[in-house]
């Protein structure tokens, strides 16, 4: 009896897990699986890639500038004689860490603004709405550039400046879903029981709008990769000699005019592949999840 019970217990989580994996695979389709593979490789490179790179990504050699592909240098070398392949792998980290900062900061600050507006309603809501209107008046990349102009260039400042630019968009979306939740009877019931607003928001409203916050963050992540790469490209993000895809595209611009397009093209392809893969997965999973929710 006990043995069969443990057997059931040990196999029970296994079967749905396999079923879940299969259903994810079915949802994604074969293109989605390729995209998932691309994202997995990029994430892996970001986490452990720097221990496996064949060359130091920030040290070059003057005698080995602009080499083509060879057995030694898989994708050749850049204008400072650094191995491009090593720099691409090492660059995965900064190219993902920046957007991560952006997405987390946006989600936290956006939700806090949205929940405050929704809970207190009335004048608070109207006031916060006006504040967001002012932020909306700035094109988002302009706000980020202004932030960099004030606080100086760098990965962290560029990421936070970009997050400020994203906050109005995310706050508006979260506010609209949280507002729907706020007016439901169970929130009123909790309020009548004398539970304070902070607890109700955290325990009841947040879990119910969590999916939307997560979906929004997935979409923002893709935008953040592109925008941060653009800031690096403009020399306002992470500073050389760090390895970063946006920076590599920018570095490669001069080499490109001299007839060595490799560095820019490879780094650009990395950005495009990562963003496109994430967008595709987000669309497939997010779209299906949204459809599933509306059916319920």
């Amino acid at each position: 009896m006990a043995a069969s019970e443990t057997a059931v217990l040990s196999t029970a989580p296994g079967i749905p897990a396999q079923g879940r994996l299969a259903s994810v695979r079915r949802r994604l389709g074969w293109i989605g699986m390729v995209c998932a593979g691309i994202v997995a490789v990029v994430v892996l490179a970001a986490m452990v890639g720097q221990f496996f790179v064949p060359y130091d990504p920030t040290v070059g050699s003057v005698t080995q500038r602009h080499l083509g592909s060879s057995a030694e240098h898989f994708l050749g070398t850049d204008q400072a004689g650094r191995d491009i392949f090593s720099r691409l792998i090492a660059g995965a980290r900064t190219s993902l860490v920046g957007p991560l900062i952006v997405v987390v900061a946006t989600a936290v600050a956006g939700s806090m603004l949205a929940f405050t507006a929704v809970w207190f309603g009335g004048k608070t809501d109207a006031f916060l709405g006006r504040v967001l209107d002012v932020l909306f008046a700035f094109p988002s990349l302009l706000l980020a550039i202004l932030g960099v102009a004030i606080f100086g260039p760098g990965l962290v400042t560029a990421s936070i400046a970009l997050a400020v630019a994203y906050i109005p968009y995310s706050a508006r979306v979260i506010r609209s879903v949280a507002l729907r939740e706020r007016n439901l009877p169970y929130v009123k019931a909790a309020e009548l029981q004398g539970i304070n607003g902070f607890t109700i928001t955290l325990r009841h409203i947040l879990p119910n709008v969590w999916t939307q916050i997560l979906t929004g963050s997935t979409i923002n992540f893709g935008y953040a990769i592109v925008d941060l790469a653009a800031l690096s490209f403009l020399g306002l993000g992470i500073q050389p000699p760090a390895a970063d895809w946006g920076l590599m595209i920018s570095n490669g611009q001069e080499s490109l005019q001299q007839g060595f397009p490799g560095q820019s093209l490879y780094a650009g392809l990395c950005v495009v592949a990562t963003v496109a893969a994430m967008a595709y997965i987000g669309e497939r999973l997010g779209g299906r999840a949204a459809a599933g929710r509306s059916k319920q």
């Binding site: 209107d133 002012v134 008046a137 700035f138 094109p139 988002s140 990349l141 302009l142 550039i145 202004l146 960099v148 102009a149 004030i150 606080f151 260039p153 592109v226 790469a229 653009a230 490209f233 403009l234 020399g235 306002l236 595209i249 490669g252 611009q253 490109l256 005019q257 007839g259 397009p261 820019s264 093209l265 650009g268 950005v271 495009v272 963003v275 496109a276 967008a279």
Partner: protein, 313 residues
């Protein structure tokens, strides 16, 4: 009319608040305003005094803001902290490039975006698939990467277009700006084509189109007068928003193609820490962004009376 006044007042309020942000940025920076403006450069006492008087640092804060703002309205935007040039003339010399770049890009968005959307929406089949795939790709490709690819293929590889510079005269200018404008408008073309296609497909399934077909109207009339014309409402908004967004995308493309527009001026000023120029350009861009967005809203109200009636009350 009431709608117009209401929107103008709202825009005015937002612009005043954003001018406060642009102005106040100076005081958010670490260190004293003076230190921030000078940025560790060695300057003579005369220049320092000039900077102090330009920002009226000896007056209280509201006076400083008022001096700055009224200076802007009278066309006095101060002097560059680096070269002592007049910021107003510096910007004025850069604006034509940016405007012509935006104009070429806007034409491309309208012609290519709507054209491809109509093609995909009415033909279906292979054409639709190609347009959908290309629009997915167009949205994923960042402008700066598109700029580099276009540059390496058409300028370096094939030599059809010049690599940089804005050109003189109308024809030469358009020729110089074709690649930058293409890079700038690529994502927007993709978005507009996608929205146009969806709108046309939805419209062609609506009842009045069905009735028109049932009445035996010629295909051409059903298509152009009943389907396309009615589906252009959402498209107008999308096109307008994308054109307003060109302001934000312009600095990347200008920088990539080394065009001397105000976007490139902004980026270079941030790199060289010339905050006076940064403030002026940022404010001009915010004003332009606001005005274009307002124009789009008004255009929408002109096209669709329902908007005017609902919001104008």
């Amino acid at each position: 009319m009431r709608f117009l006044v209401h929107r103008l007042l709202a825009l005015g309020g937002v612009l005043i608040a954003s001018s406060m942000i642009v102005f106040g940025g100076l005081y958010l920076a670490p260190g004293s305003p003076e230190q921030f403006l000078v940025q560790g450069r060695t300057v003579s006492p005369e220049v320092l005094a000039a900077i102090r008087s330009q920002y009226s640092l000896d007056d209280p804060l509201p006076v400083r803001y008022w001096n700055w703002l009224s200076g802007l309205f009278t066309g006095d935007m101060g002097r560059s902290l680096l070269t002592q040039q007049d910021v107003g003339t510096l910007i004025a010399s850069r604006i034509p490039t940016t405007l012509s770049l935006a104009a070429v890009a806007a034409v491309l968005i309208i012609v290519a975006g709507i054209g491809l959307g109509i093609l995909a929406g009415t033909r279906g089949g292979v054409a639709a698939r190609i347009v959908i795939f290309a629009s997915n790709l167009g949205i994923a490709v960042p402008t700066f990467f598109a700029a580099l690819v276009l540059m390496s293929v058409f300028s370096m590889g094939l030599g059809w277009f010049p690599v940089f510079g804005a050109g003189d005269g109308v024809v030469d200018r358009v020729w110089h700006l074709t690649l930058p404008a293409l890079a700038l408008s690529l994502p927007s073309i993709a978005v507009v084509a996608r929205i146009t296609r969806t709108a046309i497909v939805e419209e062609s399934e609506s009842e009045h189109v069905l009735i028109a077909v049932a009445r035996g109207l010629p295909k051409r009339i059903v298509l152009w007068r009943h389907t396309v014309r009615n589906s252009l409402l959402p498209v107008t908004t999308a096109v307008g928003m994308q054109i307003a967004g060109l302001i934000a995308g312009a600095f990347v493309v200008e920088y990539a193609f080394t065009l001397d527009g105000i976007g490139a001026l902004l980026v270079n000023s941030v790199q060289r820490k010339d905050f006076a120029v940064v403030q002026a350009v940022a404010l001009i861009m915010v004003v332009a962004f606001g005005v274009v967005n307002l124009a789009v809203d008004l255009l929408y109200a002109v096209i669709d009376p329902r908007v005017r009636l609902k919001k104008g009350q």
